[in-house]
Amino acid sequence: MSGSSHGSAKNLGAFRLKGAGRLTPARTSRFTFDGKSYTAMEGDTVASALLAHGVHLVGRSFKYHRPRGILSAGPEEPNALLDVARDSARRQPNVRATVQEVFDGAKISSQNRWPSLAFDVGSVNNLLSPFFPAGFYYKTFKWPREAWEKVYEPIIRRAAGLGVAPKEEDPDRYANRFAHCDVLIAGAGLAGLTAALSAAATGAEVILVDEQPQVGGALHFETSTTVDGKNGFDWAQETAAKLAAMPNVRILTRTTVFGYYNHGFLGLAERVSDHLDRPGRETPRERLWQVRAKRVILATGAIERHMVFANNDRPGIMLASAARTFLNHYGVAVGRNVGVYTAHDSAYEAAFDLKRAGVSIAAIVDCREQPGEAVLAEARALGITVLTGHSVIDTTGRLRIKSMTVARNGNMDIRKMAVDALIVSAGWTPSVHLFSQSRGKLRWDEASQRFLPDIYAQDCVSVGACNGTDETDLLVDEAISAGGGAASVNAERRFGWSGGMIGAAEGAGPDTRVKAFVDFQHDVTAKDIRLAVREGMHSIEHIKRFTTNGMASDQGKLSNMHGLAIAAEMLDRPIPQVGLTTFRAPYTPVTYGTLVAHSRGELFDPARKTPMHDLEAAEGAEFEDVGNWKRAWYFPKRGEDMASAVNRECRTVRDVAGVFDASTLGKIEVVGPDAAQFLNLLYTNAWDTLKPGRCRYGIMTREDGFVYDDGVVGRLAEDRFHVTTTTGGAPRVLHHMEDYLQTEFPHLKVWLTSTTEQWAVIAVQGPKAREIIQPFVEGLDISNEAFPHMSVAECAVMGVPARLFRMSFTGELGFEVNVPADYGPAVWTAIWERAKSMGACLYGTETMHVLRAEKGYIIVGQDTDGTVTPDDAGLGWAVSKKKTDFVGIRGLKRPDLVRDGRKQLVGLLTNRPSDVLEEGAQIVADPNQPKPMTMLGHVTSAYWSENCGRSIAMALVAGGRSRIGQTLYVPMKDRTIAVEVTDTVFFDKEGGRIHG
């Protein structure tokens, strides 16, 4: 061959042709492949760089561990999947060598082989392959029963899988951007660029997307196309520059439209920095674009198919267009003596380009009797041997192709021809993936033997090769019209495109034992497809699932049509009747990190903190998650564990007082002349009787009558209520209220406003509570007489407007000081300073839980679940008997909700006071019954009560209130605990303290 490598200082590869390709040797980089070091040129993909050095063998197949090379030059690559690492944390398995650009220092390894790529023990599978036809595992490995899990499955698992998952946390950043446009164009080849020119001319906002680093699409390899008198690729770059200068056009290269979802919504993955030698620390690795497009133009081109024949998978066998891309774009020859096997004219052009570059062409083997006249003439002119009506029926070569075996069709007269590469083309499959994802319907075009877009489900149009339009002049017209504007583009191609075949070629069937691969990555052969049909798999989905054809990471881009045709032939049915498997997103695999984008760490889920959070942390608080909130759980002093801290807090609150952050409780301001009437409908109890300045505990049920939420409601004025909800219930309660207000009771004059975050809430509970807050309260008499239990008032606290509640969730004298949130820390600090000086403590949610349990106060969601009525929870008193309507009134009367024996909330005392029951423990009457046991209920709350000097518990027990006094049993794993059923109040049964 005439080409030779560039100087010896930088060995750019023995197969790099001088003067060929578009890369410049100005900048080079080094990378290693399986430990060996190579030089690449700027713009090289890993595939082009390896081929430049004559490396074809890059991997082992999934099932038979057959040696595999580089098949394509694009994202459809099924074979060349490599492990690419920047460093130990930035390691990526299953990277397509044909897409990944080389960066300096890349450490690249082959996958799925041991101990080495050239000698792989797993290739014994290839010898045993007769025992592993499609679906063999369904038929065997059933005995002995345990062996599947212990022996067979682990072996299968170890053999399967390709790459090795990263072990370290990914340090790279990923970004997300929502965007809108009038027209999104997927694909920036001749059709996409032309459509973009046309659409941009109308003033439309245009986003033009292409997965390659440069625009051009097929113009990367097409040398016979000229546009406006220029070389096609050059025209593409000039056009892109022109478009990029327009304010209404955004061009995204290295970006894949991976999903076309409902209502013009598309997902794009942009590779921002994987090609850079040294990306900045803050540069995102990839960016997710979530685009809402008014219209979509699909200019996604077509993908060349391989030929299905015996041993068509050896390294050195590749698609003709790929060889052409490596030559014309990267300046790399895929071999020195190349064979061509085709059913389509386009492969001839690859042979012409190679021949002109000095590569010898062993022969063009064309299975058709009559190829196009133009290509035949050109071949003759170049002195290339063309064997029409012939087929390649086999190949040799262990780690790289050495020869091809050629036969006249229908004749056993064979000859073997030495080659070091074989380029193949069975024709082109329109890329209808995105069209199909948009739920468009395809039709089968019998003449051209391909599926083409037919009925569109969204505002979308296909142009160019993905629409079956091959002729350049027609393609340009179609693209201009799709863009909706005007553009003047004149494109010509020297050779017309014709031909193509689908299914197994000569010598690969129907009755052979040879391995003619349909799906390379999953090692699916033509005979596997036939076996599936023989076994009754007559639907293409069954065939796919039985053989796994098209289910590998290339998602059948090469294999689907061949698989379909082989099945159709076997079934003796026309192809459209066999069907086509659904194309699903993503078009090519998308990194999880890209889809997650910013939503990691603190941005995974908002952590809500109260205004006093930092002060509590400074006091040593441990926090617990309650919904999105971080709540102070307990406040351990030095040397205290959780139990001793909680015991101290519990004791101190009842002996002195405690200060608690109740800010997370939901708050809703209900305002309007019909506010009381509205609450009457939403809560089970009555609100019109509540006087301004007073509070009441309310229960909310849904229509089904089960407890939905609870809380204290204060009436501030005739037309203004301050409603509190549970912490977790706040958003859904407001939504529930709005639903009824807007759609069932729109006649009511009332409005709802969330004020959860307006107020910082400082609860002060305990005998000294009044004394603690007294000095801070202005303009309000908070004596027992003037401000009794369940009072509310607006006043000032430390000079700021406040709402003061006298209420208690501990059974002690208690106040809840509500101040505007920004003032919370200052007021908290002042109150806490004073409280501390008087011997009080800070307490957290755990102590709150214990103290309320000592009083038998429930926590919705803990002592109730969605199956508990107010009466079950011992709150029947809070259900109005007088009201004629409220949400839940009818549901509560249903047969099962009023039957005897329902689970009711009761107290439990363990026989041994020191035994603390497990929350969630089950209760039985007879602990000695055989399993399955009859369970009466479960423990909902259980604590050590320092104030009672013993354990206490609450439980939902069938017919619970009628069992008070009985002994029941809680069978645990290691022992059974006897318990006495009691009422639910364990401390201060008379309830006097609350009025202190």
Binding site: A179, E282, H598, L603, T755, V800, P820, Y823
Partner: protein, 188 residues
């Protein structure tokens, strides 16, 4: 509720510790402000407008400003009215003075605001917000409640390259951090 003259308690603002990062694109906490959530029927809008001294907007996605007060249309009977200055200008009292049926609730401390200003401001917000923020679709003065990542915000465009993001207090750390991420990405 009017604030009292000289509170003994000091305010601790949400986002008191953060500073904007990118030079060309600033993400900064806004000064405290008085805010009310105002609700009223359409027949009472005129009286409330007069009392507040600005025309309460009645078209979706619009705002109106006058005398240091800005009213944001949030829904057909809902406005977020913001008055400049920590002390406020008596928005609640003004509403009461209108004499018409309405609901005004003080939410001055419920919300906090973040200002996003500079080249790429819209791109920074589009890191988490699905709205079309082109000037055509979202001109200066446009406002709406919307979603930003995993939290709800009220977004106001104050200039061609400046926005005010109103967010509930406990979501402000999240919103700020995501805006900072978005701002960083907008520079690439």
């Amino acid at each position: 509720m009017a604030e009292m003259s000289s509170p003994a308690a000091a305010r601790t603002l949400a986002l008191s510790g953060v500073r904007g990062r990118a030079a060309s694109l600033a993400v900064t906490p806004a000064a405290p402000a008085e805010r009310i959530s105002l609700r009223a029927r359409s027949e009472d809008v005129a009286a409330l407008s007069a009392a507040l001294g600005l025309e309460l907007p009645t078209r979706p996605k619009t705002s109106a400003a006058n005398n240091g007060r800005t009213a944001h249309w949030l829904g057909p009977d809902e406005w977020l009215v913001i008055g400049e200055g920590e002390k406020g200008s008596g928005l609640m009292a003004a509403c009461v003075a209108s004499g018409v049926l309405h609901s005004a609730v003080d939410v001055s401390h419920r919300n906090t605001a973040i200002l996003v200003e500079g080249a790429g401001a819209a791109a920074a917000i589009n890191a988490g917000c699905p709205l079309d923020l082109s000037l055509k679709a979202f001109p200066v003065g446009a406002c709406t409640r919307t979603i930003f990542g995993k939290v709800e915000i009220v977004l106001l465009r104050t200039g061609e390259e400046s926005f005010r993001v109103e967010v509930w207090r406990s979501f402000s750390d999240y919103a700020y951090a995501l805006l900072a991420e978005g701002a960083l990405d907008a520079t690439f």
